[in-house]
């Protein structure tokens, strides 16, 4: 990444795919965490990804359902989006490349749950279409 580069956050970061170090899909950027220092402008400290923050943007009953599922998976923690430290962002391009595997990210648990409990139950999901 070059110093001095300028981007518009909603245009270039929101909804971008996250690709992990193994070239696997690791979620999408739903929001950014901005930290306000004592002096100066806020800076990006994390990407918020996965259903916890997406429900905020979807809103309505679908958003509430997504959030309730997320809460069920994280009963002991505050419900909220998966937070991916900006420290593991390797490259910002048409997708956001991470320097870690997605298995270490919180987003993976919801994906696994969805695969097993939602997609897995759809008839025909076990094999490719004819």
């Amino acid at each position: 990444m070059m110093a001095g580069r300028t981007i518009d956050a909603a245009l270039s970061l929101l909804d971008r795919q996250l690709i992990d170090v193994n070239e696997r899909f690791a979620g999408k950027v739903d929001d950014l965490e901005l930290t306000l220092p004592e002096q100066g402008a806020p800076y990006v400290t994390a990407i918020l990804a996965g259903p916890g923050s997406l429900s905020r943007r979807i809103g309505g009953r679908l958003g509430s359902w997504i959030e309730s599922v997320h809460r069920r998976l994280h009963p002991l923690s505050e419900p909220g989006p998966a937070s991916i430290s900006w420290g593991v962002v390797a490259e910002v391009g048409s997708s956001i490349r991470l320097s870690v595997a997605r298995s270490v990210l919180e987003v993976d648990r919801f994906e696994s749950w969805t695969r097993e409990h939602v997609i897995g139950r759809i008839p025909g999901s076990g094999h490719a279409p004819d």
Partner: protein, 113 residues
Amino acid sequence: MRLTDLLDSDVVDPAGRTLGHVHDVRLVQEGPVVGSSDATFRVAGLVVGGTAFGARLGFGRTNVQGPWLLKRLFERLHADARFVPWASVRAVTPGAIHVGVSAADLRRPEPLS
């Protein structure tokens, strides 16, 4: 604070007039190092306009390729976009960002590098 707290917020000048709302937040790569990555992105300022439709698709930025007619339409909708440097922000409240400048003080956003 989250990016979505800023997006679509009203931008209000010292006289209480609404200058527009936040179309986008301009980031510049120069902030403190976070973890082992390169320098992070710091907020340079707000892209403020009157019409959000089409703006976030990128149409209106003059260096975006796209269907000619749509591009011209959204350029007109986006023509009133102005840039508010973060240094001009006085307070961030739910739904409204109070700034220390008025409409006459604002310039169009620079083309993206």
